[in-house]
Symmetry: none
């Protein structure tokens, strides 16, 4: 791979998500950490990015939430979330018809998707763009776009999903609870998630350990409907209720 290709990829990743760790970049680009460090130094030298301890952050102020005094470490992403994303991406086959839900974990997942003939449908504007820039076959759900998350919601979106029959759906969630199941704060987003899961043969929920034992207003699926992909399982009480794949990071 050409050095300039790596530079481009690194800058793309940074501009799309704001920051990245050295480990993460080395995994995505399939190269050593030494090389990534050298690349980051070069790009930092020419003012294309800000190198920080552990990785790099985008030069232009991240649109949205102000982040000024945040410790550098916190800006960078944990490897745990990374391995969830990686594991999920590996589940995709050439003949799949995939739904990708909006959310940061599913977004990260796209970075790890290899060249594939699979077809992707998403309700995330950013996800759609990422899929495109990886040269994948992308479709988007039509409807109202929610400002904060850049996710398509509303009845239009639900009707769009009606026509599809997915082989696999990759979902994000805010809370996972034995009684309440998978929950989210937004009623419209919940409806979309519900419908996507309904129209998919298998559904995976990507969730790091912090999501367990949290409950939000809207339940979009009971535990048993989705297979959970997580970094570490805090208690076995969940594993009785559904299939869980624990990824070792």
């Amino acid at each position: 791979m050409l050095a300039s290709e790596r530079y481009r990829t690194i800058l793309n990743i940074l501009s799309s998500r704001g920051s990245a760790t050295v480990t993460e970049l080395s995994q995505i680009l399939k190269t050593s950490e030494s090389t990534i460090r050298r690349d980051l130094n070069t790009l930092d030298g020419s003012g294309k990015l800000n190198k920080v301890f552990g990785g790099a952050v985008s030069i232009k102020p991240t649109e949205g939430v102000a982040e000024q005094a945040v410790p550098t470490r916190e800006i960078l992403m944990s490897d745990e979330k990374n391995s969830i994303a990686k594991y999920a991406a590996a589940l995709i086959n050439d003949d799949d018809f995939i739904y990708i839900d909006s959310g940061t974990t599913t977004s990260r997942m796209i970075d790890f998707i290899e060249n594939t003939k699979a077809i992707f449908v998403t309700n995330g504007i950013i996800h759609a763009q990422k899929l495109l820039s990886k040269g994948l076959n992308a479709y988007i759900i039509g409807g109202k776009i929610k400002a904060v998350t850049a996710a398509v919601i509303g009845s239009g979106g639900i009707r769009s999903i009606e026509n599809y029959n997915f082989t696999k759906a990759f979902m994000g969630t805010n809370g996972i609870d034995i009684q309440a199941g998978f929950t989210t704060p937004d009623i419209e987003e919940g409806r979309i998630k519900e419908k996507a899961i309904e129209k998919s043969y298998i559904s995976f929920v990507l969730a790091d350990h912090s999501k367990f034992r949290k409950v939000f207003p809207i339940t979009f699926a009971p535990l048993k409907k989705c297979c959970i992909i997580t970094d570490r399982l805090l208690c076995s009480e969940f594993s009785d209720k559904t299939v869980i794949r624990e990824v070792i990071s």
Copy 2:
């Protein structure tokens, strides 16, 4: 094989992929790496590409999906296209239900939209994101996304538009011609444009003077169906056929 043929092929590959390695090129062109290196040196010498260690990269900034955020670039924009965009943006009222077609001129238009209660529907991924970042009420058409332009196309998109009744549609075009009307190179994109115009009370086509007297394979509307917003009108022959608003820049 003629050397000039190789040059052409190399430049084609570069402009479509952005970069290529010497090994790749030697395989594609079925020639030795030495020859490719000599070719690259020649082309680099005449400024047609950038030679880098391992291969070469396209001279012009990669025409990818990414279209950088705008604020600073506004200054760089040609005044002509600017004033078209500005004029169009001023046509929007609070009670409008607007369709915004994909394309660079319409994209620029979004920069000039003031805070409004109007509702926007678009088929451009980038347009949707821009509308969102301006805090506007945005909807997106669902369907297959075309890689180059990041525009939603296909039957799904057409069905999405069916449900809407726009007050105003702002369209881009590739060619404007007395006989052929408004034309575009892509059949799928043409269909979407056609439907959007059909479902809109008034349609505006944003086009700088370079678009006049050009014809592309697909006609999406006859001249009289849309009001043209342009920077300067080269000949009055068009004004007999449709309403034209000429913006003085």
